[in-house]
């Protein structure tokens, strides 16, 4: 076991269960020649110590930008923070200057990116790159930092760490590069880890290895993990709470079981119904959400999901739905028809009313219903 580094900007260690990060009404807009891209448009979420928050959404839903904003990695301009606060242990990161941010990045909050090949520098040895992170933040010589880097590589399960430390990123396989990224992110024992599609580029067998590694590290150190992904399976197996994003806004935020068994937003329900599943053999057709995600330059009026929603009515076109508390504790959703979604989920009989006659004969009950019955 390597020695634990103490570098931190925090005055005290956070208590278990204490809220680490709180994002309030964050708006990140990009001003481009074609118009204003509202990448993140009024998003609030928080994460506590030791917790895993899953953020799911399709490409262009704003899930990555909100994480990048936390790290101060969104360049301004072109981006503009129209409103919002990012409170990290009582400090507003949006008001912090670059020097303060640089201390927090790596020390207290770090990030893993999707593509480990583009996030590692191809002309430096892997060990050197990890040691650099340590040397920037710690008063430590080159040789001990290098030794620590080797220990870190061993800790994330890279065989022959000493030899591997003096190799270049291209000599590593995809899974090993991602491990090296994790070693780098964890070098200074951050309390919060932002993982942006950490396993999307990897094979499932390697994905299982990487997720297992993150889980072990989380249990050992109580790190809070924000898991950004489009894979609902990954969220189901690893997240405690789930935030569903659509077109830069929060569609639904709830505990993981509520999201999967009691969704209250038509989009969440649609995503679950359209999923091909490994464990269910369904001869029938999938029920996809029609259309495609909107361009963030021209977000539809009212509820951004209404052009693709089978429950949409006039009110959805006119009024932007508020994120409101649902019939269950700690469960919020921004849908005008959450009661009808509840019916779709819980009452197969009631659900038939909403579906068109043709669909009813062709397709079976949505997945969520099947789940409620089996569980």
């Amino acid at each position: 076991m390597r020695e634990t580094l103490t570098a931190t900007t925090l005055e005290r260690a956070p208590e278990p269960g204490e809220t680490l990060l709180e994002i309030e009404d964050l708006r990140v807009h990009f001003h481009t020649d074609n118009g204003v891209v509202k990448a993140v448009d009024g998003v609030s979420w928080s994460i506590a110590r030791g917790e895993t928050l899953g953020i799911v959404g399709e490409s262009g839903s704003g899930k990555s930008v909100s994480a990048m904003a936390v790290m101060g990695l969104v360049p301004t301009p072109p981006a503009r923070y129209e409103s919002g606060r990012i409170m990290f242990m009582g400090k507003d990161l949006l008001k912090a200057d670059e020097k303060a941010l640089r201390k927090i990045r790596g020390n207290d909050i770090s990030m893993i990116f999707q593509d480990p090949l583009t996030s590692l520098n191809p002309v430096f040895k892997v060990g050197h790159q990890i040691a650099e992170v340590i040397q920037v933040h710690e008063k430590m010589g080159r040789i001990p930092a290098r030794k620590l880097a080797v220990d870190l590589l061993a800790e994330v399960g890279i065989p022959n760490p000493k030899q591997r430390a003096s190799e270049y990123p291209h000599q590593f396989s995809g899974g090993m590069r991602q491990r090296a990224m994790i070693a780098m992110a964890l070098a200074l024992d951050p309390v919060l880890l932002l993982a942006d599609e950490p396993t999307t580029a990897l094979d499932v067998t390697v994905q299982a290895q990487i997720m297992e590694l993150l889980l072990t590290l989380q249990q050992e150190r109580g790190t809070a993990i924000v898991l950004i992904t489009h894979d609902l399976g990954l969220v189901a197996s690893h997240a405690d709470r789930v935030l569903v994003m659509y077109a830069g806004k929060v569609a639904e935020l709830a505990g993981v079981d509520d999201i999967f068994y009691e969704p209250r937003h038509a989009y969440t329900h649609g995503l679950l119904s359209g999923l091909a599943r490994l464990d269910v053999h369904r001869a029938e057709r999938l029920e996809p959400i029609p259309g495609q995600p909107p361009s963030l330059i021209r977000v539809p009026s009212g509820c951004a999901f209404h052009p693709r929603c089978k429950l949409a009515t006039q009110v959805c076109t006119d009024v932007v739905p508020e994120l409101v508390m649902q019939d269950r504790p700690n469960h919020t959703a921004a849908c005008h028809h959450s009661d009808q979604v509840a019916l779709l989920v819980n009452g197969p009989a009631a659900a038939q009313h909403v579906k068109s006659a043709a669909e009813t004969t062709a397709a079976g009950p949505p997945v969520a219903e099947a789940e409620t019955r089996t569980s």
């Binding site: 399976g233 197996s237 599943r277 053999h281 057709r285 495609q292 789940e371």
Partner: protein, 344 residues
Amino acid sequence: MTTPTRTPPNGAVPLLQVENLVKHYPITSGIVFKHKIGDVRAVDGISISISPGETLAMVGESGCGKSTTARAVLRLVEPTAGALKFEGEDITHVKAGRLRELRREMQIIFQDPYASLNPRMTVRTILSEPFKIHGMEEGNRVSELLELVGLAPEHADRYPHEFSGGQRQRVGIARALALDPKLVVCDEPVSALDVSIQAQVINLLEDLQNDRGLAYLFIAHDLSVVRHIADRVAVMYLGVIVEIADRDSIFERPAHPYTQALISAVPIPDPRKERQRKRIIISGDVPSPANPPSGCRFRTRCQKFRDELNEGERSKCIEEQPELIDRGHGHPAACHYAEVEKVL
């Protein structure tokens, strides 16, 4: 229980037969005096057959040879050894002229809808090209094709960059179907698409299969999609098939340790099930196909080899390459100690 190799109705010939297909890429050294120092054994002796209207899925990690197989089947890469038969005709060595005729019957859909369409051609040019190449009347076919894949005929004069990823993949599908093929090789057709779009494209592929009796060779790494779309599944590891069976047998009664690990690694979108599931985690990465392990190629990562077998049993794995035969599980699996284990 259906048998793993589905015999086509009334004893007809299978659409495609692949026998002992081998594709080796030479590793060379030296610039002036180039000489061969080894082989990357991308595909190392696989046999499959596909019946008309059937979907055979090939799954496995990256580098297992599934894409090379797909390309070798269409003779986009020349096989090193083995035989390819299309409707009974040996096509392993047919000349370019006949091959072009054959390509009307077999087409391919690529993974990346951004890279597989020429950015300087309009959709009309892209879709009418197959007719030009084969000297066929185009007529009104472009509009029909666009409608077939759920696009509007007005889209014909747009360029690929004006479409979203899902729409581009539809154009790719339309191009593959232009000449009414019997076999379509789908190389990861949905993995570059958004979740909500994937289901749309899967449904489209299924509809087209039902309407036109297409056979698919479906290459994928997403096992959830395979479970939905495939009739039979072949699991590949380092250039060989380790297990082949009909869909439900593979997922419900996998007999090869690799298949078991592969299935158990896929997270299911069901939190309660996930909390109860046992996950088999295999260590490390796929070894280099230039120098595969002796005997059973999977033994270096095999959980069974590591945890369950004794010395004597292990030496068999090291010395003897297991044959792909049925050891009493109802379907063939290439493991000396194959044993059905439920992993779902």
